[in-house]
Symmetry: none
Subunit: 190 residues, 4 copies
DNA sequence: AATGAATGAGTGTTCATTCAT
DNA sequence: GATGAATGAACACTCATTCAT
């Protein structure tokens, strides 16, 4: 069944892209790891580049959904706190997917179709709400959002690359405190 | 003169690597853009990969120096504020170099020789000083540092990729305020 | 069919190696002459050098078999006589293969896997038998063998390179007479 | 002085050609080993190939002279015996030169200028004399000569390549005995 | 005369993609 | 639909030769 091929290829490709990057992974690598033929891959995706872009977009928008769900409702600072915790949780639960997203962002991000909601959009949205409701300092919305995103991405990266030994779960609290302390209007993150 | 070739190749290669990445840039591209022969390149670097790694390491450690110099002396929060301003200044002054560093970090960072001081080390050092002197909250040193680094990197990236239209110079103040507000002990960035 | 490619490449490569040597023959030459693509060659051999070594070993050990079969049974001098005749026959019947073996011996001989029987081994074996049975003079086995081998190789070479115009078939008898006269114990070649 | 360069290049080139063959030896290899610049080489020879051909021809004709001198005068069988002994002596005394001649014969022999006397000519001459004077059996002159040459070349090669462990000096007598026994008319080598 | 950096055509090899089976 | 052998345009890299100094 074709879904079978798609799943096997997706998992194999993400693992390989995460290890070596898209350019350094060959179609043969993927086919072998997935246990399918090289030709079969081309029945589901038009090219290796499109496979990579497709997988990236899928993972990226799935993460978007997941973060929005995790944010829930309530004041912006509380929602951001939950987003930070959840992002760290996702990164630790699926290191391959995380490495893939980190590694491929520069080549694949520009190919994500316009209109798809991204994790960046989710966080920018929450920050915008916070500014509107007065719970977040009235500064440039994107600049503040990228402080939050940067705290997440760089700490994840630091762990993926082995500099940070402590589990992200234990760091999430203090990191959220610092960030929210910095951007909340009342000076308290909760 | 040999310095001539080195300089021309370096500039051409950084520009091309910044546009297309190392893998997608061919040796012929570089040689043509630099106005030298392909063979000449191999008199100065043993391979394309080593050229890329060498340029990355050089720019990365130069940035390290530059940030350390800009930090100057005084309480850690003030030094961090100056680092943030200077990092934004560097990014805007040399967009090619910035794109190159952002794009190549995942492949070239592991190849930077151990013992070289990196921008990450510089910021971690200041944060450690701040924790020791009591001007920064006593949390995980690396986690706090990566909040600062993340704020810098993601805002730079956001501008390089065109999402952020405002010049970084105007954002530096508010961003530094938020970050320092979040991690300083007295609750004030200065 | 894969056997198809292997055969076409083998024949083309032997002809080209025989004319210009392995180093001076390009993979492009071989592919063109064989009527296959360059890539196809690499599905069957890992490199040009391994192709050359493989072809050499195959021809060399095939000649070994062929000489051993031709030697048949009986007193050593008679077997050697048949070997000389057969070697000359092989050289005249397949001049490309002969030129290839002569030209490539210095680079490919060291790569023939240990344990494979070579034409040298065949002749040394017969000479050893002859010494044991008393039909050949009791001198250094390898030295005597290389007299026989030398008579074959140099006369073949002399013809392949055009110095010797007479067909080897007519020279085989006198050459065998002289050699066997020289190394047989009774002083008679049969 | 130019003779200086010529000598240093000649010695270095012969050693390298003997180890790796002409094709696998680079001009840079030679220049480095000789302690001269690459350009200097081109002031004395027009190309690497001509250098190789020139060195081959020089060594080849020098060997020719040397063998003719060693042959001396007297009946052909005695002269051949002295040639065999001397050839083995030369091979053992200068292994580099020997390996160079063996390795390069197929590419360089055709380039030796016509009219130069070669070692092959020397031996053919002696054999022709022997046939004329009745000391050697009246068979094809070249065929008989190549028996002698083959005995020399293959035994030398066998030692150079390590199959034959015994020193050639101790094998020269028995080998000469066998050969001369085979081709002399009286049935005695002396 | 000597140097050695520069040249650039040519090499072996790879790999995304196609297509006969 | 699936296969995997075949294709051939690139690619990184080498090296004989030239020539400004």
């Amino acid at each position: 069944m074709s879904t079978d091929v798609r799943h096997k290829v997706r998992d194999a490709a993400i693992a390989l892209f995460a290890q070596k990057g898209v350019k350094a992974t060959t179609v043969r690598d993927i086919a072998r790891a997935a246990g399918v033929s090289e030709g079969a891959l081309y029945r589901h995706w038009p090219s290796k580049e499109e496979l990579a872009a497709d997988l990236f977009a899928a993972e990226y928008t799935a993460m978007s959904q997941s973060l929005r769900d995790a944010a829930g409702h309530g004041p912006a600072p509380e929602r951001l706190r939950r987003v930070i915790h959840h992002a760290f949780h996702l990164a630790e639960a699926a290191p391959d997917r995380t490495r893939f997203l980190l590694l491929s962002q520069h080549e694949s991000l520009p190919l994500v179709p316009q209109g798809q909601e991204t994790p960046v959009d989710v966080i920018c949205g929450i920050v915008a709400d916070g500014i509107a409701e007065g719970s977040i300092v009235p500064a440039d919305r994107d600049a503040l959002s990228h402080i939050v995103i940067g705290a997440i991405v760089l700490n994840v990266q630091s762990q993926v690359y082995g500099r940070q030994k402590a589990p992200l779960a234990t760091l999430a609290g203090p990191i959220a405190d610092a960030i929210l302390n910095g951007i909340s209007r009342t000076g308290a993150g909760q």
